[in-house]
């Protein structure tokens, strides 16, 4: 007596043998025509995705270039507290350095009478070039001597020096001028922090300052940094911490971190076996695949950042992601819209002018809030609630540039991992869980 399975097998086998091997009409198309189509299809396969990758890299280069250009154009730093603080620190350093140089000023003063009193000697002597900057404070201080002896120590450099100091023969005026120059030079030293030739200020300043235009008593002979308001070491201003910031960002992602191949997935069992009447397998093969094509995810959202300290911050928000998948050759498509809530922490680790750099890590829970399948797309879901939640985690390195104190731009290269769920819809994240994106956006620093 035959079991039910054997009976079923019989009618199925009979049907397969009799109707399955019927050869109907011959194909109308010749193989030459088929070959043309095959080659054409093979040549263009994947070209769209490659094009998108180039767009991605071009966009990344453009963003990096723009950020670099913005750093180089040297924006108005007066609005930036950190830059002014840095300038003050530099000015303080310059003031300290300039103190020994101020003591060398009598060299110039001492040189003048020699030239005017005894030009003959000056002409007879061989001019020895002397770099005043090499006259250390010890030289000047240890001498603390009349100008004459110092002039002798400085050799006959006074000839050239006096010419650069002006042609006036009045030593008194020259002395006053020299004192004024001293004060002026201190100002200039303070104002121009980048002037590496600060030690030459006696000469440079005397050129720039009209002699006798300012009263000599305006500047004391020896100026301490504390007496000079420009040399006053400025306490670094405490940067006001803006605790809340709101950002809006988006990205058009590329393919995942994998090899970027177009993915193929089997519709059903990967291995198919055929058996004979005795149940013996006579051949098996891998099932041909159905091609799933995925558009690049489009994502955008808004984020809220709370700065615990100038370094540490927490971030959350709402992010919408649109995923489009279609199968070929039928073209049946699936459109899904996910809403995700990220939660992350980050640190600001560097500042450069108006730019700051930070690193962050986050986790995100996304829920499908809108979905549509065209007819023929394989799906196991009859309603949105059947689609499982999508978990993801990632890390980002970010650079932001504050155009004003409240408004700035940012770019965040991000690596994300989407935890695959076996019952998740067929999306690009399911096939490529690792993802690299370049997140671009604007940020408002509120209060």
């Amino acid at each position: 007596m035959k079991s039910k399975d054997n009976i079923q097998k019989d009618w199925q086998e009979l049907l397969r043998e009799k109707a399955g091997n019927v050869a109907g009409a011959q194909p109308e198309v010749s193989f030459a025509e088929l070959k043309e189509k095959m080659v054409a299809a093979g040549a263009s396969a994947g070209s769209g995705r490659r094009g998108l990758s180039w767009l991605k890299y071009a966009a990344a280069v453009a963003v990096i270039g723009a950020a670099g250009a913005m750093l180089l154009i040297n924006p108005d730093k007066s609005r930036d507290i950190s830059s002014s603080t840095a300038e003050n620190r530099k000015a303080e350093e310059v003031t300290v350095v300039s103190e020994p140089v101020l003591e060398t000023e009598p060299v110039a003063e001492a040189a003048l009478p020699i030239e005017t009193v005894d030009p003959v000697d000056n002409n007879q002597d061989e001019t020895i070039p002397v770099d005043l900057t090499k006259l250390t404070a010890n030289d000047a201080a240890s001498s603390n001597a009349p100008s004459g002896s110092l002039a002798q120590r400085s050799g006959k450099a006074s000839g050239s020096l006096s010419q650069r100091s002006g042609e006036s023969s009045d030593s008194t005026v020259k002395q006053q001028t020299s004192e004024v120059t001293h004060a002026e030079s201190t100002k200039e030293q303070t104002a121009s922090a980048n002037n590496s030739a600060a030690t030459e200020t006696p000469v440079v300043a005397s050129d720039a300052t009209p002699s006798g235009n300012k009263p000599a008593e305006a500047a004391p002979a020896t100026v301490s940094p504390k007496q000079d308001p420009f040399a006053e070491p400025v306490k670094p201003l405490k940067k006001q911490l803006r605790r809340f910031s709101v950002g809006a960002s988006g990205f058009l992602a590329s393919n995942g971190l994998g090899n970027g191949k177009i993915s193929f997935k089997s519709m059903a069992s990967d291995m198919v076996t055929y058996t004979d009447n005795n149940g013996k397998i006579f051949y098996s093969y891998s099932a041909p695949s159905v091609r799933y094509n995925h558009s690049a995810p489009i994502s955008g959202g808004i984020s809220f950042r709370y700065n615990f300290t100038p370094v540490l911050y927490a971030e959350s928000g709402l992010r919408l992601t649109y995923l489009h998948t279609w199968i070929s050759p039928s073209g049946a498509a699936q459109d899904l819209l996910y809403a995700g809530i990220p939660l992350g922490m980050g640190v600001n680790f560097a500042h450069l002018g108006n730019a700051s750099f930070y690193a962050s890590a986050y986790g995100m829970l996304s829920k499908c809030v809108m979905g549509h399948n065209s007819a023929g797309f394989p799906s196991n879901y009859s309603q949105l609630s059947d689609i499982p939640l999508m978990w993801s985690a990632g890390a980002a390195l970010g650079a932001s540039y504050n155009i004003t104190r409240t408004f700035g731009l940012f770019a965040e290269p991000t690596v994300s991992y989407y935890f695959p769920a076996s019952n998740a819809p067929q999306t690009i994240y399911k096939e490529n869980p690792w993802y690299f994106t370049l997140n671009l956006g604007v940020r408002f620093n509120l209060k």
């Binding site: 035959k2 039910k4 009976i7 079923q8 019989d10 009618w11 199925q12 009979l14 049907l15 397969r16 009799k18 109707a19 399955g20 091997n21 019927v22 050869a23 109907g24 009409a25 011959q26 194909p27 109308e28 198309v29 193989f31 088929l34 070959k35 189509k37 095959m38 080659v39 299809a41 093979g42 396969a45 193929f264 519709m267 059903a268 069992s269 198919v272 055929y274 051949y283 098996s284 093969y285 891998s286 099932a287 041909p288 695949s289 159905v290 091609r291 199968i327 070929s328 050759p329 039928s330 073209g331 049946a332 399948n373 065209s374 007819a375 023929g376 797309f377 394989p378 799906s379 196991n380």
Partner: protein, 170 residues
């Protein structure tokens, strides 16, 4: 063997059979010709996935590709969610043994034509279940229907087939 060359030989040797596979799914001769061409293009694009396991394996692989190509086309038309004409469904199918006996007495070409006359949804499930070896679960997953729906459509296909064989015997 080069992919193009192997496919050319398969075209010459099994082209008519592969076209009949397409027709078994889509019925319409012109559409079947289109599916045949699409199937060959798909085979060419997936050639690296073909594993030669001896004689007949390429034919079986190509026939599966043709079937899948046709399924994609049918999904687009979405016959799975069309309302069925319950009035045309036989009240009770013949037993499996009676069906097997009936099938044995019908000429191959006539049996093939009977399958083509089945409604789209029933013919699709019958093709997948009998000729491709899918389970109802796999059919349900592939077509986006419930397993019970797949089983019901197979039952109706069998009933229709038995009825046509009965008419054929008369």
């Amino acid at each position: 063997m080069d992919g193009i060359e192997a496919l050319e030989q398969a075209y010459i040797k099994d082209g008519a059979y592969l076209l009949s596979v397409c027709r078994r799914y889509v019925c319409d001769p012109a559409t079947a010709q289109d599916m045949f061409q699409d199937g060959f293009v798909s085979a060419y694009l997936n050639w690296t996935k073909f594993r030669d396991r001896g004689p007949g394996s390429l034919k079986a692989w190509l026939s599966r590709i043709m079937a899948n190509t046709c399924l994609m086309h049918l999904r687009k038309r979405d016959p799975m969610h069309q309302a069925s004409d319950l009035a045309s469904v036989p009240m009770a199918a013949a037993s499996d043994s009676e069906l097997a006996d009936g099938i044995a007495g019908v000429r191959d070409e006539d049996l093939y034509n009977m399958i083509l006359e089945l409604p789209d949804m029933e013919r699709t499930v019958l093709n997948m279940f009998v000729f491709e070896g899918f389970s109802h679960r796999e059919i349900a997953k592939t077509l986006g229907i419930r397993e019970s729906t797949s089983a019901m459509r197979l039952y109706r296909a069998k009933a229709h087939l038995a009825e046509m064989i009965k008419d054929y015997e008369k």
